[in-house]
Homo-oligomer: 226 residues x 2
DNA sequence: TACGATGTTGACGCGCTGTCAGGATTTCGC
DNA sequence: GCGAAATCCTGACAGCGCGTCAACATCGTA
């Protein structure tokens, strides 16, 4: 049973769903069902991952929370890993504009950019309905980390921003690769502690991270050119 | 078949293994077999994890590389996770003295401590026969991270060192939790890029990290007390 | 040597995986 | 509208890994 039919009783436009957007192709019933099925699997996955952890969940667990048959799962995803990647990438896509906004509002102010960016990330971590949030908050010893192309693209974008500021401030002896890695590492590790409640104050953490990066960069610059 | 018997032809003391160390109890054949079996499982696990990745390996894969029966595995470990934790903890145990040596040789020199510690960690990562090394070097998107009690104890030890230096240098406005998190994050992320060959020069990376932390700490101190 | 203690073995039931033939539903051409 | 074709859903199935356990083998001890 497709989820579209299951939801027929609730609130899905069934009457006249012709004449939609210009380039859109969500008219056909088949298209709708596919979209709905995919969304249902993703939502079920989000829930189950949060409940059972990545290792603990099975494809069956996900599909069972759905009105679909087990075989249908494989029409949409190859494995639970692919579901998780999709969810993860969704999170990355939601965060990306926040990072861009930080750069936008900061102008040429490196410090403002850093504070805003870190704070945006920490807020995102703690508030966004992301898989990663629930998972990282679980008291497991063995956790899972993902480097999807989306993640890597985000890192590259961040690196570009950092390079731009580094050029601006003549940090020409600071390896951008190392600098970006440090920023990412700091964000990850502090973010992790925020999720676990070992650290409380988001704003203070963001300021710490920002000042740390600024001071660190300058120190590296002066030491390396010596 | 226990591994002891299998190795009889090679080089295991089988003749007179009475009269061993004072408090030691590796005399009995049973004790020896247990030790050998455990070691065989760990060694097989190390190999298989490196070949198939964490997700990809099964308990059967591990036990198959051994001369033991499948049921025997569960006399020694509850799951592949426990095997991995044991291997991981071995690595931590091997690294711990290196960190202590760094602190010892550095004396009161914060900068020397940082450089030595980072360099020790990076060298360890790249050279030690550790599970984590092989695994991190695999081109997988989804990786696994472990926070065993051993790891956490190591972090705590590092934090104590850092607190000591921070006190020494009157960095009283620098939150030790945040500072330790930053150091760990930087080490992790740069280490990861070293393993993947995105960064080559270990010594340069260690100097970068050390200067970064020093400069970062000082900047945080001066900004936070303002 | 004999007997209890301890460790090993591998077959078993269970659940999950990924597939596929058969069936249901939608789309398209007329 | 209608029938054919395309598309997608379904659930049963074979294969495999998991953890267990009764039967067996080996060791320690007297």
């Amino acid at each position: 049973m497709q989820v579209l039919r299951a939801m027929k009783s609730t609130s899905v436009s069934t009457e006249k769903d012709r004449a939609d957007g210009p380039e859109g192709n969500q008219s056909g019933k088949r298209e709708q069902t596919k979209l709905a099925n995919r969304a249902a699997i993703l939502e079920a996955g989000r829930q189950i991952f949060a409940e059972l952890g990545y290792e603990g969940t099975t494809v069956r667990d996900i599909i069972r929370r759905t009105e679909l048959a087990s075989g249908t799962f494989y029409n949409y995803f190859k494995s639970k890993e692919e579901v998780f990647h999709a969810l993860h990438d969704d999170g990355v896509a939601r965060f990306k504009p926040l990072l861009r906004a930080a750069r936008q509002s900061a102008g040429q102010d490196f410090q403002a950019f850093m504070i805003t960016a870190f704070e945006a990330y920490f807020n995102f971590l703690l508030n966004d309905q992301s898989v990663d949030r629930e998972m990282a908050a679980m008291p497991e010893w063995t956790r899972v980390r993902f480097d999807t192309p989306e993640s890597l693209a985000l890192f590259d974008e961040l690196k570009d921003d950092i390079v731009a500021f580094a050029t601006e401030f003549q940090l020409d002896h600071v390896d951008p690769e190392l600098l970006t890695a440090s920023c990412v590492g700091i964000a990850q590790e502090i973010g992790d502690r925020l999720l676990r409640g070992r650290i409380k104050d988001i704003h203070a953490a963001a300021r710490f991270a920002a000042y740390f990066v600024l001071g660190g960069s300058q120190r590296v610059q002066s030491e390396m050119q010596a």
